[in-house]
């Protein structure tokens, strides 16, 4: 799939959207979790064993005070260090350090997010949750997330028509409210554009993925994948 964006977006993004025709989110010949992870896959829609309460989560997200990164970022859960340190140094890349994580907000103010956290945390240990907003006309230029866990989970809470998440050489991630995707952001350049008239909000989540339960979820999701 290719998309012609208006001239107001940088040419690098316009060219990527127009000329990168590869739609190959995952290889077709992975036999198990290891082979998928080692395949340099791009992204995979997850089949989670619970329903994501998108409406409640969105309502709660919109009620929060968005003050960081020009009002486009909320740190919900993560390592015990100041946000400035996280933004400057990444996600705790010092492999010799034992990191502990906690909620950054009063749990009473975010019951839906607390439930979401508990549902995921039963499957694998969450290390970081942030909310990210992109205003109409906003974008992130192509980049890779080089620090921390290479694979991230995204859940869109609002995704108005005209929003795109493009991964170089892998395709467009078909994000939609309530759908969860496992995305290899540490390996492949990716880029987001909000060419709509409304803001969009996503949950961005890191975890220690290597648990038997999570492996089964990934393998099942791979077998049932729709976005081949």
């Amino acid at each position: 799939m290719t998309i012609q964006l208006p001239d107001k977006y940088p040419k690098l993004i316009r060219d990527l959207f127009l000329y990168d025709t590869v739609d190959n989110s995952t290889p077709d010949n992975c036999s198990n979790y290891e082979s998928l992870v080692c395949s340099n896959f791009g992204f995979l829609q997850l089949r989670l064993p619970f329903e994501i309460q998108t409406e409640q989560l969105l309502k709660e997200a919109q009620s929060l005070t968005w003050k960081d990164k020009s009002g486009n970022y909320v740190w919900l859960y993560g390592q015990n260090k100041p946000l400035e340190e996280k933004l400057a140094d990444g996600m705790g890349f010092d492999l010799d350090t034992q990191y502990t994580s906690s909620f950054k907000l009063d749990l009473k103010s975010i019951p839906a997010f607390h439930k979401f956290y508990q549902d995921i945390n039963k499957l694998c240990s969450i290390t970081d949750i942030t909310l990210k907003k992109v205003e109409p006309g906003g974008y992130f230029a192509p980049h890779i997330d080089s620090f921390g866990n290479p694979i991230k989970m995204y859940v869109a809470l609002s995704w108005p028509k005209g929003n795109y998440f493009k991964m170089y050489n892998k395709g467009f991630i078909p994000l939609d409210p309530g759908k969860a995707f496992w995305v290899n952001v540490g390996t492949h350049s990716h880029c987001v554009v909000n060419d709509s008239k409304e803001e969009r909000i996503v949950i961005s989540l890191y975890a220690d993925w290597d648990t038997p339960t999570w492996r089964k979820i990934v393998e099942l999701s791979y077998l049932q994948r729709a976005c081949k």
């Binding site: 940088p10 040419k11 690098l12 000329y19 980049h143 890779i144 290479p150 170089y168 350049s189």
Partner: protein, 128 residues
């Protein structure tokens, strides 16, 4: 393809080479040329490696290839003393591949890879 460049303060450029040839003999022409900036229109083979060399005692502040700002790539030029940077006593030479969008995305992807970040941060070693 359009090439726009800006020299840093104190630069004393002598000429620009495209794939080793002066602009006047390459498939290229100046759209504008001032003391510290220049815009060229040049033709490069599709899907090929190319070079642009700024000769003289120069520093390069910006390099926009095909409308794409190559940002901090300017600090990855090759100079006469085999070091990397945006300034040279004799020349600064850049390698790039067409199409620019694809080459630049891949260059940035490699430059920001975890392997390279670890090298830069902890070992002071910058693999090419």
């Amino acid at each position: 393809m359009e090439i726009q460049y800006t020299y840093g303060k104190g630069s004393a450029p002598t000429q620009v080479l495209l794939n080793g040839q002066p602009v006047s003999t390459y498939m290229a022409e100046y759209l504008s040329a001032k003391q510290d900036t220049g815009t060229l229109q040049a033709t490069f083979p599709f899907y090929s490696w190319n070079t642009i060399t700024f000769q003289g005692k120069v520093s390069i502040d910006s390099l926009i290839l095909d409308g794409i700002d190559t940002e901090y790539f300017v600090h990855h030029g090759f100079t006469e003393n085999k070091s990397r940077g945006n300034a040279g006593q004799e020349y600064v030479k850049y390698y790039f591949k067409t199409p620019i969008w694809q080459w630049f995305i891949e260059w940035k992807q490699n430059d920001n890879s975890t392997t390279r970040q670890i090298s830069k941060t902890h070992q002071g070693f910058i693999p090419l």
